[in-house]
């Protein structure tokens, strides 16, 4: 299987056509998508038109860009002009965005070929893709297991060979956790690195778009294409896209690596913990200085997250009221119509989080819940900042376990929420983190190791991941 970088090189040099590359991937989708259900929609016709355009550009002697002719799958919470964008929810039934997300525009400018919209937990709320209104996605490594979530479709699409690249969104681990469970690379950039314009919001202060790929180098290439300032997102970092690919092979000699003590204890499966320790040894063998690192407040991330994220979600999802777009269930009055629409349109997990968030923001409870959670968030940021005084990067598991079976964690929402314990702190702090495959668990399923870095230090993070990729068993 070719990497994205190899495909783009072939298309740019005229060795292969973009249409040929596309056909190869559409054939792969044709072969196994029915079992996997990575996609809510495969946009074959639009993809063909885009691929033909790339080929015309090459034929004219021009350069279509660094992702020329590379098929890419898009999480179905990224707005695509004139193409249904559902968030895997019934409430957006029939809505066609009148605009492309900034990342979609940047992909087009780089010559990439979007091939479809991938499945997710409804509004990105979940860790298994079981919360999709359109049915779950299956893990290509083991069809009896979940792919993780919420970006389960995007992770599965890459793992299944449907596309060498995909985009997801990560609010509490929604890129990294499915990447780990599906055995691919998944990156959550620094908050503000990638424009959120056109990403349908779950929790605005935590959401960040990022890449999935089979290799660290492909993920770095995609990251460079989508990163950089966007005036349409007020939380966008002013700088342009950072150069990370050119530092991928710089190695980790002398790099100070901390293994987060608090994220290797209770609740982490022994086989997963063992892979993380082996990863640390691999970095040490490559010249890094590896030590235990304590980030005491990290364990409070989960509690803070499940107040802040639902609070923001309760407000962000208010607009789905049946008045302007999407589903409308008619009723006698406007108010009753809104209630009927939201009752029919949202799934159980979305409703649960809207209620949690509404409660957390209520008069009389705000300080005890939302206010307190924000204070905890500040403490976590302080502890990470202190750790980064001593370390250049930190290491932890991405997910406490390998991929679990369907239905395993749906009965009790709290057991599902615990899946995010290692990934949530980066979202609360706004720092970058990525998951890189590193061996397998006792069940033979992939384990992901998480590399965490301080804000804007993606280059260091990527080159650490590249060393792990090379050393992976």
């Amino acid at each position: 299987m070719s990497t994205a970088i190899e495909l783009a090189a072939a298309v740019r040099s005229g060795t292969r056509t973009a249409v040929d590359v596309l056909d190869e991937h559409l054939a792969a989708i044709e072969a196994t998508e029915l079992q996997i259900h990575a996609f809510n929609l495969v946009t074959a016709a639009e993809a063909r038109a885009a691929a033909e355009q790339v080929d015309r550009t090459v034929a004219a002697g021009d350069d279509p860009g660094p992702l020329a002719g590379v098929p890419i799958a898009l999480k179905d919470n990224l707005c695509t002009r004139g193409v249904p964008t559902t968030c895997s929810s019934k409430i957006l039934d029939g809505w066609l965005p009148p605009y492309d997300a900034t990342v979609v525009q940047r992909l087009a400018a780089a010559g990439a070929v979007p091939i479809g919209k991938t499945n997710l937990d409804e509004f990105a709320m979940g860790s298994s893709t079981e919360n999709s209104a359109f049915g779950p996605t299956r893990n290509p490594r083991d069809l009896t297991r979940v792919p993780g979530g919420s970006s389960g479709g995007s992770a599965a699409a890459v793992a299944a060979g449907f596309a060498p690249l995909s985009l997801g969104s990560d609010t509490g681990g929604s890129i990294r956790q499915p990447a780990a469970l599906c055995g691919v690379v998944g990156v959550k950039p620094t908050y503000g690195r990638v424009s959120r314009y056109g990403l349908i919001a779950f929790a605005s202060s935590l959401d960040q778009i990022g890449p999935f790929a089979n290799t660290v180098a492909d993920a770095a290439q995609l990251f460079e294409v989508i990163a950089g300032h966007d005036p349409r997102d007020s939380t966008s970092i002013p700088e342009g896209s950072p150069a990370v690919s050119e530092h991928l092979l710089d190695g980790v000699d002398g790099l100070r690596v901390g293994v987060v003590t608090e994220l290797l204890g209770e609740g982490i499966a022994p086989d997963v913990a063992a892979r993380v320790r082996e990863a640390a040894e691999a970095l040490a063998a490559a010249g890094a200085k590896v030590e235990e690192a304590s980030v005491p407040a990290a364990i409070y991330g989960l509690s803070a997250y499940y107040l802040i994220a639902p609070a923001e979600a309760s407000s962000n999802l208010a607009r789905f009221d049946g008045v302007r777009y999407g589903l409308r269930v008619n009723a006698a009055t406007t108010n009753e119509m809104m209630i009927a629409t939201r009752t029919a349109g949202f799934g159980a997990e979305v409703k649960r989080r809207i209620m949690l968030g509404t409660y957390a923001l209520s008069a009389g409870y705000y300080d005890a819940y939302y206010g307190q959670a924000q204070r905890v968030r500040t403490l976590i940021a302080r502890d990470f900042a202190a750790a980064y005084e001593r370390f250049d990067v930190l290491l932890s598991p991405t997910s406490p376990t390998t991929a679990f079976a369907f239905g395993d964690k749906t009965a009790d929402p709290l057991t599902m929420y615990l899946n995010d314990v290692c990934t949530i702190p980066s979202n609360l702090v706004g720092d970058p983190a990525m998951s890189v495959p590193f061996g397998t668990g006792a069940d033979g399923l992939p384990v992901g190791v998480q590399v965490l870095a301080p804000a804007l230090a993606e280059a260091t993070m990527f080159r650490t991941a590249a060393v792990l990729e090379g050393a992976a068993p």
Partner: protein, 480 residues
């Protein structure tokens, strides 16, 4: 009016919230046009409609205008934060409004009314407007309507909400405050201040109490869109509250609706039913921290405000700054002409009279101060009477000609005393009964008859006589 508004022993307490639409080209958080009166749902874009995935980007001009107004009303400009005010309503596209809540941009200011009263301003904060619902198939209210139409053109229009302290004591003061605020909004360029187009909307918080006791429970009257409505609504509400309290009942804290046709307020919703707005900081925007340099540059660029202009004109004219004519002249933007004329040494009393009363016609604003000064010199030199001067001035405004030449062309020449006395004698002779009553009557009768005689003399002399001189001569003759 205030003396008779409320029964003895009651005092009215009013605080006002004025929503002013800022005069930006585009909306608060998007590039959609900020334009009144266009076809419904034409000035919209993904951000205006709150489409999924859209994000707000703050309009720098709106911030600048907010700071301009804030500085003009002596506020301190502070680092501020936008929050979300959450409630469901069809004309609010995101089902939350972005508004400044606990950290507003302007705090702690004041403005001075023309009568010298100072009204405190608690805050003036930025927020976005909502769309506009039209309820069909009923009496225009949402209850009983068959369906509603929503126009989102107004959604996202930048608003400045200016909140006064409860320093207002009469309906007239409330009107004067809004009027002064409107002048300041226009002077700063922050808003066009057009109440009839909804550019300015007023909510009034009204309570009554006995002086010396704590303020009473207040009611908020929503959406008063003219000065007349404002005055009437406050007056009605104050009397209603006194009636309720004097009947031994209590006032419920509530929001009330003003019915212009019926001239009364009625309950909209009581406090217990109020929405819990679940305010929290808007995560899609960053805190707003205007630099000190920017604030100072805006301050330096501000034109003088009405109160300052009144003070300057009053000082130049040597009259109190609360003089009515001074307020009128500034309100009509004629204080520049007044000041320039005064600088040329013209008589201050005559300058104020002419600029306030005789400059309403076309071209008044272009009148050259030296021509007005020349006219006043003719008047004070006794060569023109007040009446003649007014006529000459009208011609000077229309033609730009020299006052002396206009006077000459009109045949206006100062009457000699002899000619004036002769004319007066003739009028007295022709009206012996009136003269007898003038001579022997009391102060009141003489006052009335003075008007009669002066009028007759004016008529006989075709306005050339000086009213003051006629009165003096009449009194002199009566005294014998």
């Amino acid at each position: 009016m205030t003396a008779t508004l409320l029964p003895e022993g009651w005092e009215l307490i009013v605080g006002l919230e004025v929503h002013a639409e800022l005069a930006t080209a585009t909306k608060m958080f998007s590039a959609a046009p900020n334009m009144f009166g266009d076809d419904p749902n034409t000035n919209i874009d993904p951000v205006t409609l709150g489409l999924p995935g859209s994000l707000p980007v703050l309009n720098e001009k709106a911030v600048e205008l907010a700071i301009r107004l804030g500085l003009a009303v002596h506020c301190s400009v502070e680092p501020s934060v936008f929050s979300r005010k959450n409630y469901f309503y069809p004309d609010m596209p995101k089902d939350f409004q972005i508004s400044q809540y606990d950290k507003p941009i302007n705090v702690d200011g004041w403005l001075e009314l023309p009568d010298g009263t100072v009204i405190g301003i608690e805050r003036a904060h930025l927020e976005e407007d909502t769309g506009k619902s039209t309820h069909m198939g009923g009496d225009g209210r949402i209850h009983g309507a068959s369906h509603s139409l929503v126009d989102y053109n107004r959604a996202g229009v930048p608003l400045l909400e200016i909140v006064s302290r409860p320093d207002i004591r009469t309906p007239d003061q409330a009107k004067a405050y809004v009027s002064e605020l409107r002048s300041i909004l226009v002077a700063t360029g922050a808003s066009d201040g057009k109440m009839e187009e909804g550019s300015m909307r007023v909510d009034a918080n009204v309570s009554v109490h006995h002086p010396g006791e704590p303020f009473g429970t207040r009611c908020e009257i929503k959406n008063l869109n003219s000065l007349r409505s404002l005055g009437r609504a406050i007056e009605y509400e104050a009397r209603r509250q006194v009636d309720v309290l004097e009947a031994g009942e209590t006032i419920r804290q509530e929001t009330r609706h003003w019915n212009e046709a019926e001239g009364r307020t009625s309950t909209m919703r009581v406090k217990e039913d109020a929405d819990d707005y679940r305010y929290f900081p808007e995560p899609d925007l960053v805190p707003l921290a205007p630099s000190a340099e920017w604030i100072e540059q805006i301050r330096a660029d501000l034109p003088p405000m009405p109160a300052e202009r009144r003070a300057r004109l009053a000082e130049a004219a040597g009259v109190p700054k609360t003089t009515d004519s001074v307020a009128v002249i500034v309100e009509r933007d004629l204080d520049g002409l007044g000041l320039a004329t005064l600088e040329l040494g013209a008589d201050p009393g005559r300058v104020l009279v002419h600029v306030e009363q005789n400059l309403s016609g076309d071209g008044s604003a272009e009148l050259r101060p030296d021509l007005l000064a020349a006219l006043i010199a003719l008047e004070t030199g006794g060569e023109l009477t007040a009446t003649q001067a007014k006529q000459v001035l009208a011609d000077v405004i229309a033609t730009g000609a020299d006052p002396a030449e206009v006077a000459k062309a009109k045949g206006f020449e100062a009457m000699s005393s002899d000619a004036l006395f002769t004319a007066i004698d003739e009028i007295i002779a022709g009206n012996p009964d009136e003269w007898e009553r003038f001579r022997t009557g009391d102060q009141k009768a003489r006052g009335k008859l003075t008007g009669f005689f002066v009028g007759q003399v004016m008529k006989a002399t075709r306005g050339q006589a000086d009213g003051g001189a006629v009165t003096a001569r009449l009194n002199e003759l009566a005294a014998g």
